[in-house]
């Protein structure tokens, strides 16, 4: 294979990857959310501020979804952000040698019978 052909192949692949990346970003933002099963009673030992930061840093008074799902720049990382928030906290408890909240299977937290469709808004 000659060098111009290799260069053309690399450019085509890069363009294809760029298009796929942009499609992926849009698909992540538009994907419906799966509801979680969350009991405040189980989490009463945790400071409210740990999750509801918006009540304290003046970024809003609504549910998490209204920012983290409706704003595209936050919606891109919503899964990672919320998994880190919940799962890492459970992992810290488990690593300390105590029984923790769900760590492994998805249905430990998620209710698959309910999905929440949140329409994204323009930034």
């Amino acid at each position: 294979m000659t060098r111009p052909r290799i260069a053309a192949l690399i450019c085509s692949l890069a363009a294809l990857l760029l298009l796929a990346w942009q499609w992926r970003q849009r698909a992540i933002v538009a994907a419906p959310m799966t509801a979680i099963v969350f009991d405040h009673q189980d989490h009463s030992a945790v400071s409210c501020k740990t999750c509801h930061h918006n009540f304290f840093d003046e970024t809003g008074r609504d549910s998490c979804y209204f920012c983290h799902k409706q704003r595209p720049e936050l919606a891109l990382t919503i899964q990672r952000d919320f998994h880190h928030l919940c799962r890492d906290c459970h992992a810290r408890v488990a690593n300390a040698g105590y029984d923790s909240g769900p760590l492994r299977r998805c249905d430990g937290c998620h209710d698959w019978t309910v999905t929440q469709k949140v329409v994204p808004v323009a930034p």
Partner: protein, 284 residues
């Protein structure tokens, strides 16, 4: 006493090839046993290292599926080391090279089997994991999928190399590049998905186990190990059998190690204070 002879034309002049027909069968067996033990130890080390540094097993079947992924990580880390290329630089012993070649090939099949068991096991236990194989999945999960596809492509390209008359130097460059990419993607996958053993020590152990063989093989690429003495010849069937027996034993040990990983609780350690003590008894 070993008798030095002139090296072949393509070897540096300071490398001396030795005929060592006085090496007895017991020494050869010891060497093969040492090679087999090193393979076993390194393949199982991620499981044992992460179990000792991570949390206790809480969901046996899920942990067994994760354990197959960790064993696959050990196999992937070993494959660059078990390359006949490095060993050819070390010895002219065709028997040993054949054993290494058979081990490399069969270990790659074992690697694919472990990776498929990892993916299919998690899918069977939790069908929603399918979302993690779609393009909208987080990057670290797509990295794992890409690593699996790369490993399959590596095996397919290696098997079809002679049939398609792929020149060896070109094939070797692609093989090495794709292997390095597969190791890097596996590292990313592990870093992102190992939240449940996400203690710094555990991640350090995993990084060490995955990185050291890769770095060592890269080092050997530039500084091949010194040539050693050749061993006595052995029948063709014996050297194939040695490689096959090693891999069969390896399979059994992997099953035992994964079972231990999934069902054995972590060793008792002094407990740290609960991060969120709750007197009501309903803790996180």
């Amino acid at each position: 006493m070993a008798r030095p002879v002139s090296p072949p034309g393509n070897l540096p002049a300071n490398r001396v090839l030795m005929h060592s027909t006085d090496i007895d069968a017991a020494a050869l067996r010891r060497r093969r046993a040492a090679l087999g033990a090193a393979v076993f130890a390194y393949l199982l080390a991620p499981l044992l290292g992460l179990r000792l540094c991570g949390t206790a097993a809480v969901d046996p079947w899920w942990d067994a599926a994760i354990g197959t992924g960790l064993a696959a990580m050990g196999a992937l880390a070993l494959l660059p080391i078990l390359s006949a290329r490095w060993w050819a630089a070390q010895t002219r012993d065709a028997d040993r090279l054949r054993v290494v070649q058979v081990l490399h090939r069969q270990l790659s099949y074992l690697l694919v089997a472990l990776l498929l068991a990892h993916v299919l096991g998690l899918l069977l236990l939790e069908p929603r994991v399918l979302d993690y194989l779609l393009p909208t999945a987080p990057g670290y999960l797509l990295a794992g999928l890409a690593a699996l596809l790369l490993v399959v492509a590596l095996i397919a390209s290696s098997q079809g190399r002679v049939r398609r008359h792929w020149p060896h130097p070109s094939w070797r460059r692609w093989h090495a590049g794709m292997s390095a990419a597969a190791v890097a993607l596996t590292g990313w996958h592990l870093w992102g998905s190992a939240y449940w053993v996400a203690t710094p020590t555990a991640l350090l152990v995993a990084g060490w186990l995955l990185g050291v063989p890769t770095l060592l093989s890269l080092l050997w690429h530039h500084r091949p190990p010194a040539r050693l003495a050749a061993d006595a010849p052995h029948p063709h069937r014996l050297r194939r059998a040695v490689g096959t027996r090693l891999v069969c034993a390896l399979c059994m040990l992997v099953v035992v190690a994964v079972a231990l990983f999934a069902w054995r609780p972590a060793p008792e350690q002094p407990r740290a204070p609960h991060p969120y003590p709750c007197p009501g008894g309903r803790c996180l």
